[in-house]
Symmetry: C2
Subunit: 393 residues, 2 copies
């Protein structure tokens, strides 16, 4: 069957706050081939990805993403790879394209899963989806007291692991940061798995990161995430050599399979974190998951939006060992929660399990979603290239 339509929907909270919370908007993708429909989601900047979907061609290697998708045959998983390769070649000089492709790739997997009535992880070749230990992913409190209260709440909610990130961490003194980490450990308890996310705050500055290591080691933090910007592989490599039992985590910014491999090979990370909504979708994420296993690096999902995106982000490593951790945002804005009828919630033992329903196992709640839908219109040279389509099943 041929892909007949690919539609993008920009959904947003009424107000966007200037905080590190990626669940405040999203870009929903609807893909149709014959009678079948699949859904996906792109990270980030919905308007920019819409523009890259429909922009006029600049030259043979800078074409709108849509041109490499519409009309293509989509009958099996090899078609997904072929279409991804087409987009990467035809949109080589269109920087935004891999974020845009991500949601399309995810929707293609969902569509084939629905068509063949099987979960995506099976299409990926995994016999079953192993349970994951979710880490509650939250922002640091503004004060150690707030962080302590958050951590305590997470523990009481039954989570064995939590990640604290952004907020004031890394912006003040080494002592202030140590207090934040101590508060997280105290609130989560001696047995809890504490993770810290520096949110690239130190840029390329190795010394700034190194100064935080003693407190992270003292409080037995499992990983320090994104001490540096994605490209600072030398700094990653150097810090990884000094951090002892505290592993370095990174890679969420990867917008290609190659970039993730470089983070493993040249950055020396212990955990590679991949956002299926950025790297080009489930397909390259799966290849990175395989590569990480070969290299003894632990693959983890990066997710900070809806449960559609959460399901997509868990598929690439569904068959990795049971009990491995996964990111699980617990402070979602209403938009990200309301998008889907189903939700992935911890079971009685506190584990997360992928849906056994076809595709990604998520149904869009259209009535709820329409409340967040923004009308977008883009015109070039007097011709309308994009106008928000009606959001229907």
């Amino acid at each position: 069957m041929r892909i007949e339509s690919v539609d993008f929907y920009y959904l947003s909270m009424p107000e966007i706050l200037d905080i590190g919370d990626g669940s405040q908007d999203l870009l929903l993708v609807r893909l149709q081939a014959g009678p079948h429909i699949g859904w996906g989601e792109c990270e980030a900047s919905p308007l920019t990805s819409i523009a890259s979907l429909v922009c006029p061609m600049s030259h043979s290697a800078c074409k709108p993403v849509r041109d490499s998708v519409l009309g293509q045959t989509l009958d099996d998983v090899a078609d997904i790879d072929r279409i991804g390769d087409l987009v990467r070649a035809n949109s080589l000089d269109l920087l935004q394209a891999s974020h845009t492709l991500s949601g399309i790739d995810i929707a293609m997997w969902d569509l084939l899963g629905r068509r063949f009535e099987t979960p995506v992880y099976r299409l990926l070749g995994y016999e079953r989806a192993e349970p994951r230990r979710p880490y509650a992913s939250v922002l640091f409190g503004d004060t150690p007291g707030e962080t302590f209260a958050k951590a305590l709440g997470i523990r009481e909610a039954g989570y064995a692991a939590a990640k604290f990130g952004w907020g004031p961490y890394g912006l003040g003194s080494v002592a202030a940061d140590a207090e934040q980490v101590a508060a997280a450990r105290e609130g989560l308890g001696e047995e809890g798995i504490v993770l810290v996310d520096a949110g690239t705050v130190w840029g390329h500055d190795l010394a700034m990161a190194e100064a935080r290591l003693p407190a992270l080691q003292e409080h037995r933090v499992t990983w320090l995430e994104e001490p540096f910007v994605s490209g600072a592989l030398d700094a990653y490599r150097a810090l990884s050599g000094k951090s002892g039992d505290v592993k370095i985590a990174g890679g969420e910014g990867s917008h290609s399979e190659e970039m993730a491999r470089h983070t493993i090979d040249h950055g020396g990370v212990g955990f590679i974190q991949i956002d299926a909504g950025r790297i080009g979708g489930i397909s390259p994420a799966r290849r990175v998951a395989d590569y990480a296993q070969q290299r003894g690096v632990t693959y983890v999902n990066h997710t900070f939006t809806s449960h559609l995106a959460l399901s997509a982000s868990l598929q690439p490593y569904a068959g990795h060992p049971a009990g491995a951790i996964c990111e699980y945002p617990v402070e979602l804005k209403s938009l990200a929660w309301d998008l889907t009828r189903e939700h992935i919630t911890p079971d009685a033992d506190g584990f997360i399990n992928l849906p056994e329903a076809p595709g990604l196992g998520m149904t869009i709640d259209f009535k709820a979603a329409r409340r967040y839908l923004l009308d977008v219109e883009i015109a070039v040279g007097g011709k309308t290239l994009y106008r928000t389509p009606e959001l229907v099943a």
Copy 2:
């Protein structure tokens, strides 16, 4: 003085051909601070970069590029670095941002040069701009005969060096490619510098590239450019170890300083090619030029649009040794030629010299430019975020 406005103008040929010619459209940037104006240009996909300039904020690390530029103080070159860092931090998750920043960075350098009545290369700390040997940059002919004719024409026009790229090269047989290279050598003569650009045609496939090496060696080609996609560092490294006197060139896809450094450090290239319109502007390009020199790698500009972009692309390595080569497109579409009143043309000895006029030394030809201007309108949630401004001095 504060930056009061940053305006983007999408200029295009009436018809865009599906060929590897980047001069068919451009995105012109006008930046104003006090009474001073500077001009720049972004590569590529004008509409997508406009969207990233004005998109609504998604979260604290995904803001529209404009928000980190408007209102900022711009009094000296340190301000340019500071504003670049701001954009990179505030638009961390906005993939298109570095293409967008590129034109703004270039316009900031032009503005300060005009304000201080000095060429940009002097602001960069170079005492003088050394002459460059231009290589005529053209597409391969559809047949060896056409390529021979192109090469002969280039030689008769006085060029000592030429680069042939894209077109059929790499898509057919090894023998057909060898004939193309032989034709280029024959047309350019025994003394000519022949360069070949594979335009990423072999993806990650080392064997495909390796099979072309004997012909490239036989015809004494100086470099093989972009045998692989930007991220294929392992393939670059492997080919560099086998290519003998034929050096490997690459890096034009770099959209960050780090990516260019990785191409040098892990890809083993002999020539690093940087497009100031993609990497984030003149500022990171200059840092890469310095780094390349330290590592014994030759820096070369990548340029395929107007002479405003050409001037910008030559500034970062203006002080590198006299006689080093530079890219010089000779098949520009009328738009790219008409944009500026001044043009950079070979002198009596066949060398290219940067303008000694303030800034980038280029004046926009408004009357000509307006003929190519496309009206763009972007509205989100009923609010117009962008409408093409009037193109004035």
